[in-house]
């Protein structure tokens, strides 16, 4: 199941050229860019690992592409996203965030029911990928043995 988080996630995966253009847009707006990655696809997992430091004062998207490529080389089967932070007073927040790399196979989510007091049922969304420990969740051959259930 393809996860849809952030901007452009309902579109086909962006090509390098398209990523570059989006980054250029951010740089023209004066936003700081950083690259993050994770192998926990749960939608409430807000804090992804940072790839290097946030990048300030860049002039050209090539610099961001350099880091995106380095990150996806190191983590070819992780989710990688690019965030653009706007420091303007009143905004001071991430203005654009989009996924630039995803595992070849995404096992998706299961619904877990918990029996609670007096026949109450509590529901939770559980990602099959997280059944395995961190770092082993998306196998490198891309078959996604994590989703064996």
């Amino acid at each position: 199941m393809r996860i849809t988080q952030g901007t452009f996630s309902f579109l086909p995966d962006l090509t390098d050229e398209q990523i570059g253009k989006q980054v250029e847009y951010c740089l023209n707006k004066g936003w700081a860019i950083n690259v993050e990655f994770t192998d926990d696809p749960h939608p409430r997992n807000t804090y992804w690992e940072m790839w290097g430091m946030p990048m300030f004062d860049l002039k050209d998207p090539a610099a961001v592409m350099y880091e995106v490529n380095a990150c996806s080389k190191a983590h070819p089967n992780h989710y990688i996203k690019v965030n653009a932070f706007d420091s303007t007073r009143g905004w001071e927040t991430v203005r654009l965030s989009f996924i630039v790399n995803r595992p070849k196979h995404e096992p998706g989510f299961g619904l877990v029911r918990q029996e609670a007091e007096s026949r109450t049922i509590r529901y939770t969304v559980h990602s099959y990928a997280t059944d395995k420990p961190e770092g082993e969740r998306y196998s490198h051959d891309g078959t996604g043995s994590a989703g064996k259930r």
Binding site: K59, D60, P61, A62, A63, Y66
Partner: protein
């Protein structure tokens, strides 16, 4: 352009030259920089080569992008940075770099102070320069032959990698003294082979320095009178013999000090001054310089507190 060019189709070189607007940059270069004939010729050659290369690619002849990394060697104050800026403009107008910004870096900006510090530091500077030109001043400081564990080596390796793999994104220019740059290239053959153009900046002659001084004064709306011109010539001659002479930069600093003395003379004279007096520089303003007090064959810098300059 499409692929349907035939071998006999005429391509208008003059038109392509005009479209690229590089004549303006070359004219600026001629106007701004006195002398430096060999450098200007080389820049014209490079510009012509790049223009022809672009025409060739337009008709689908070669796909290889020429190597654009350059090395500028010469003593301080011979115009290396100015030329680097102009070169960036030429490359930008011909479409070889996406932006015409130049990031100037020295060893301090690139090399870290402890293990693990260097790579992020170097990469940050490289990333800031991407899309344009990175000018590394006194590049030979990156390599310290006496210490093989020096972190400068790490910077050189990252630099080489980016110079090779990201030729489309970054043009690196190295600048420094000729002899030491030659040493640097000898100990880093990888660097030498990745630098396509080696430009040597000759020292200015006395006449050229006088010309530079006149241009600088003219820009600031001052004039020499005849005895002052003679005095300044004598000053430059003595100044050139000093070991820390920095060509055009020394001239600029000398003029700044002369302006101070002129102001002081007018101030202490009191009374009224005319507009002509405000612009004129007297021989007395120049002859008060310390260069005239010392014997011209001194070996040590007169003033050691401020690096590279004496008055």
């Amino acid at each position: 352009m499409d692929e349907t060019h035939t071998n006999h189709e005429k391509l208008d070189v003059a038109q392509a030259f005009k479209d690229s607007n590089i004549q303006g940059v070359l004219d600026d270069l001629d106007r701004e920089l006195v002398g430096l004939k060999s450098v200007k010729t080389r820049i014209r050659e490079i510009a012509a080569f790049l223009l022809v290369d672009r025409l060739r690619r337009d008709v689908g002849l070669t796909a290889d992008r020429p190597v654009l990394h350059m090395s500028f060697t010469g003593r301080p104050g011979t115009g290396k940075t100015t030329v680097a800026m102009r070169m960036a403009q030429i490359l930008h107008r011909l479409g070889y770099i996406r932006r015409d910004h130049v990031v100037v870096a020295t060893r301090d900006d690139l090399v870290g102070q402890y293990i693990g510090h260097t790579a992020p530091k170097t990469k940050e500077v490289l990333k800031k320069a991407m899309g344009g030109v990175l000018l590394i001043d006194e590049a030979y400081y990156l390599y310290r032959s006496e210490n093989e564990r020096d972190y400068g080596q790490e910077t050189i390796e990252i630099l080489l990698q980016v110079m090779e793999n990201q030729r489309e994104d970054l043009v690196v220019m190295l600048a420094g003294y000729k002899e030491r740059m030659d040493d640097f290239f000898r100990s880093n053959p990888g660097m030498r082979s990745r630098v396509a153009h080696h430009l040597d900046f000759p020292d200015f002659t006395l006449d050229e320095l006088m010309q530079i001084a006149e241009i600088m004064l003219d820009q600031q709306q001052y004039t020499f009178d005849e005895p002052a011109r003679e005095a300044f010539r004598a000053y430059v001659e003595r100044r050139m013999a000093l070991p820390d002479f920095a060509n055009a930069r020394s001239i600029r600093n000398a003029i700044d000090r002369i302006k101070l003395r002129q102001a002081n003379r007018l101030y202490s004279g009191g009374g009224t001054v005319t507009k002509e007096e405000l612009t004129r520089i007297d021989a007395a303003d120049i002859l008060k310089s310390r260069v005239f007090l010392e014997p011209p064959d001194r070996d040590v810098p007169i003033e050691t507190t401020k690096r590279g300059e004496t008055g």
